[in-house]
């Protein structure tokens, strides 16, 4: 559909147009948020005008509370994500490398996967109260599965001929993993990390809303019950922006790492958004 542009200036024009269109969309959305409450179509008590929300956001950003809440959320997110990724990789490679283990654990994995992590909230509360450990329980449980599943796909995708060759050359398990399994699994792992990062953020904030642990979620719940509606929306927007940054960052990481990596991935199920 698109012809390769030989004219660089024309190429820039095409991309600028896309950027401008996107900007127009955002501006239109902000305008909508401004007009709806002001015109009375939606009560400003429920939805303050966009400008009011922005002012509240700046106010919040000047308070120490804002930054410590942000820090708490990101801390829970990061720690939980790291734990899930390491666990997912280790367990995934271990299970994936053995046909027997894979078939044996398949049913268990398929049973455990759909269990909603939020079901663990009461248990986490009883055990850890409103501390960060409660959040971590939820974050790790929820974000572990995408990583595991993707790593399993990756290990399965390893070329059996390559594996046989490595074995016949006397390469030990560790060397096999390093030179044969890992390169094939890497693209899948990155997809898993992208999915896990998004889920981890959602669960981190969710547990803060539900369990009252320190963080952005708690701020949202508190501002709502305290009637500071504009501030509540300000925090919602911050949560959204963090989410966008995480998504964009994960995708950029994926592209970066795979830029030099000969992607051996075909049309795997994991490639979809």
């Amino acid at each position: 559909m698109s012809t390769p542009t030989t004219n660089v200036r024309a190429g820039i024009n095409a991309r600028t147009i896309v950027w401008l269109q996107g900007l127009a969309g955002l501006a239109g959305f902000a305008a909508l948020l401004e007009i709806l409450p002001r015109s009375g179509l939606i009560s400003p008590l429920y939805l303050p005008p966009f400008s009011t929300i922005v002012v509240a956001l700046f106010n919040e950003m000047m308070s120490a509370e804002f930054w410590s809440a942000l820090d708490d959320t990101l801390e829970a997110w990061a720690i939980g994500l790291v734990i899930s990724v390491i666990a997912g990789v280790v367990i995934g490679i271990a299970i994936g490398s053995s046909n027997a283990l894979r078939t044996l654990t398949h049913s268990t994995i398929e049973f455990l996967r759909p269990i909603p992590s939020v079901a663990l909230i009461p248990l986490a509360v009883l055990l850890f109260g409103s501390q960060i450990q409660s959040t971590l329980v939820l974050v790790v449980y929820a974000s572990f599965w995408p990583v595991l599943i993707q790593v399993l796909y990756g290990v399965q995708d390893v070329d059996p001929v390559a594996r046989e060759t490595a074995r016949s050359y006397g390469l030990g398990s560790w060397a096999q993993i390093r030179y044969v399994v890992w390169p094939t699994t890497l693209p899948y792992l990155l997809t898993g990390i992208r999915l896990a990062a998004a889920v981890a953020l959602i669960l981190a904030i969710t547990s803060e809303v539900a369990i009252d642990t320190q963080g952005l979620g708690k701020q949202i719940a508190d501002t709502e019950s305290g009637g500071a509606v504009a501030a509540m929306y300000a925090y919602v927007i911050v949560a959204g922006i963090i989410g966008v940054l995480v998504n964009v960052g994960a995708r950029a990481l994926e592209r970066r790492v795979l830029a030099w990596h000969p992607s051996m991935r075909l049309d795997s199920a994991g490639a979809r958004a």
């Binding site: 079901a119 009461p122 709502e224």
Partner: protein, 262 residues
């Protein structure tokens, strides 16, 4: 790769082996448990039977599942209805993409407090939360599915002068359906989470509601039984979804298989 198809009994054994072993281990390891938070499995199972096989259990299970289904189906229709025109028009996509990326990045449970403002504490709020949370994966995947429609097929449709309605039913919708189902699958997990959260936060009935009640009153075996029930519901819904997907996308699985073989 083994080429022989294992016998049915062997397949069943493989499926239940590990889960059975785990459950048995749990049973015996917790048998004499004095730990308040981790009662014997036996106690939990007994409580489960008492609690959830009574007629009153329906008073909690039915509203929960009903809210979930209503919200989920509404989100599915909404997501597909918006996703198709957006996927078909490049300009529309360019304009809306940043806004949609932002909206979908807002963690859905965050909307519970927001929607309480608008819709109070009743069923509408919970259904709305589920709709708002579930619509994004469906919408974004529908857009991706429509974008990826085969150009040759589009020309066939054009050259045979196939009208807009037939085009929608026989080309756009089936063509995008594999991708749409990916979105529907993600939405289901999100829907279940939101169903529970909204009930934990503000409700008078529902599984999430009783779960929190048990936790607050330290009724531990009951709490565990509710957790297990949620797990079972999650599993059952997932299996129903998978059966539905296999039925609708039978052609797609056959196509992929033949491509891989060829």
């Amino acid at each position: 790769m083994k080429n022989t198809v294992p016998s049915l009994s062997r397949r069943i054994t493989v499926v239940v082996a590990l889960p059975t072993a785990l459950i048995v281990t749990w049973w015996f390891a917790s048998a004499g448990s004095q730990n308040f938070y981790f009662p014997p499995l036996r106690t939990i199972v007994e409580t489960f039977g008492k609690l959830w096989f009574s007629p009153q259990s329906m008073q909690n299970i039915v509203p929960s599942v009903a809210r979930l289904l209503i919200g989920y189906v509404a989100a599915a229709f909404l997501g597909i209805a918006i996703g198709i025109p957006v996927g078909a028009s490049r300009n529309l996509r360019n304009v809306l993409e940043p806004v949609l990326e932002f909206l979908r990045a807002i963690p859905p449970p965050v909307l519970v407090p927001v929607l309480i403002l608008f819709a109070g504490l009743g069923n509408e709020m919970k259904a709305l939360v589920i709709v708002f949370g579930c619509v994004w994966p469906v919408l974004l995947n529908t857009v991706a599915g429509v974008r990826a429609l085969d150009e040759v097929l589009a020309e066939v449709v054009h050259s045979y002068r196939i009208g807009p309605i037939a085009r929608f039913w026989h080309f756009i919708l089936p063509g995008a359906s594999p991708q749409i189902f990916t979105g529907l699958r993600q939405s289901l997990s999100i829907g279940i989470i939101l169903m529970v959260i909204s009930e934990m936060y503000a409700a008078r009935d529902g599984i999430g509601f009783v779960l929190v009640q048990y936790q607050r009153s330290f009724a531990i075996p009951e709490m565990w039984s509710a957790i297990i029930l949620l797990g079972i519901i999650g599993i059952v819904l997932s299996m129903i979804f998978r059966a539905f997907e296999t039925w609708i996308l039978g052609w797609y699985h056959g196509l992929r298989q033949s491509q891989r073989a060829g």
